[in-house]
């Protein structure tokens, strides 16, 4: 099966400035591209519009201009059908796990399939087994480690077998071991994956990388050149607060050596 293609046709997002009915803040400039690659990374500085772009892809955020088309479906018109095809994983799995135990959280995802109870239970057991979470089926989601929570969050959204998985910085809160576990899992998935990340090593070996800056896609191409472009961009344009000049009242020899 060919995963659903994602097409942005002049899609942009802007919000009103509080206290003004005529002023707008552009979060994402009108953007046009089509994603057909199996692995796509989105990189950019904090506040560059990465998460907004990711949320456009499964209709969590609707474009204020243009359209987002997934597998021929407009996210603004067929949101539910789009979400059946495009799953979404968040940075903080805590927000995503809404049921008390691991097994029940996976079951929640499967409810919308309308399966009989026995079939649903069998599917839950199968999903937990696939992601190595069987032993944690009846464990409180609060008692899981960060890595286990993220794996469970991914298992929960993959349980319904979507065609595309959009991940918004899924490894940012994880230690190295868990980061590798999640990346290894993502590597092996059959789904098309759009991954928002700060992991430049991972982005460098990706088929296609979108670089965002100031709410616009400023580079679109293969991994290594895109990461090199991003590094140059970050060097040329330092952040809004130049931390190097902040006087914190210590002498230079207090730093890490």
């Amino acid at each position: 099966m060919v995963p659903a293609a994602i097409e942005l046709d002049g899609a942009g997002v802007r919000v009103g400035v509080p206290g003004s009915s005529r002023r707008w803040h552009e979060i994402l400039a009108p953007t046009t591209f089509t994603l057909t690659e199996r692995r796509v990374c989105v990189i950019g500085a904090n506040g560059s519009g990465k998460s907004t772009l990711a949320r456009l892809l499964n209709g969590l955020v609707l474009p204020t201009t243009g359209r987002v088309i997934v597998d021929g479906l407009d996210t603004a018109v067929d949101g539910a059908a789009v979400r059946r095809r495009v799953a979404f994983a968040f940075t903080d799995p805590e927000a995503q796990l809404v049921m008390p135990t691991a097994g029940e959280d996976v079951a929640l995802s499967l409810r919308r399939l309308g399966l009989p109870r026995a079939d649903r239970d069998a599917r839950v057991a199968q999903v937990l087994d696939t992601y190595g979470l069987t032993d944690l089926a009846d464990v409180s989601v609060h008692a899981l480690s960060g890595g286990q929570r993220q794996l469970l969050a991914l298992a929960g959204v993959l349980a319904t077998e979507p065609e595309v998985l959009v991940c918004d910085e899924p490894t940012t809160l994880l230690d190295l071991r868990n980061r590798q576990a999640v990346v290894s899992l993502l590597d092996r998935l059959r789904q098309r994956i759009v991954l928002v990340t700060h992991d430049l090593a991972l982005a460098a070996r990706t088929e296609r990388v979108l670089v965002l800056d100031g709410g616009a896609v400023v580079h679109d191409g293969p991994g290594e050149p895109a990461v090199a472009f991003y590094r140059d961009l970050m060097t040329e344009t330092p952040g809004p607060a130049d931390v190097a000049d902040v006087d914190v009242g210590t002498s230079p020899d207090h730093g890490w050596r």
């Binding site: 499964n58 969590l60 949101g79 539910a80 979400r83 059946r84 799953a87 979404f88 968040f90 903080d92 927000a95 995503q96 809404v98 049921m99 008390p100 135990t101 097994g103 029940e104 079951a107 929640l108 995802s109 409810r111 919308r112 109870r117 087994d129 696939t130 992601y131 190595g132 979470l133 069987t134 032993d135 944690l136 009846d138 464990v139 409180s140 609060h142 008692a143 899981l144 480690s145 890595g147 286990q148 929960g156 959204v157 319904t160 576990a181 092996r188």
Partner: protein
Amino acid sequence: MRRRRAETPRIATPHTLGLFVPGRSWLHRAPAASKLVALMLLGLGLTLAPPDRAWALGTATLGALVGIAVATHLPLGRLARDLRGLTVVVVTLGAYQWWRSGWEVALGITSTLLALVLAGLLATMTTPLGDVVDVMVRATRPLRRLGLDPEWVGLAVALTLRGIPTLIEVFAETRDAARARGLDRHPRALLVPAVLRTVARARRTGEALAARGVAD
């Protein structure tokens, strides 16, 4: 896909309040609907009991429920921990009622309160939340004609039950943050951020549910 060995879970936190405890006792095997109906009838019976018999009924029910907890091998330590949250209410209410109306009324009110909470805990600890949701969905199916989606009702019940330990967690996090900044005696430093965090958590949960298509 290669099977990965699960890590050892971290030590359980207070967020186990009412959490399902797997088991094979008769209470575990009893249908979720019958447990919920029994809970409802017990609630009605205890609260509508004649005031002069409330203490006898309350303590007898409480004793019977403790007996059920022991017989069904539920973790008594966790039950006691979950009930500990009621200590301040029970002691304050009991002392006040004893002073105002005598020991019978005080014992009647406190034992009824403890029995109701314990009955709720026994029901939730022996029933997976998914089963409770299924019952609510079935029970509210006739209301579909009035435009009410039964799946939404089930989800609302699940989120409400799940929301209680989440609220406790948010308040504990906020209290720690206030303490870390030396503000542990400022009620405003606890309340305002706790309310804001709760709203933020609710928004994130809503977004996650929307992303999973649960709300579609």
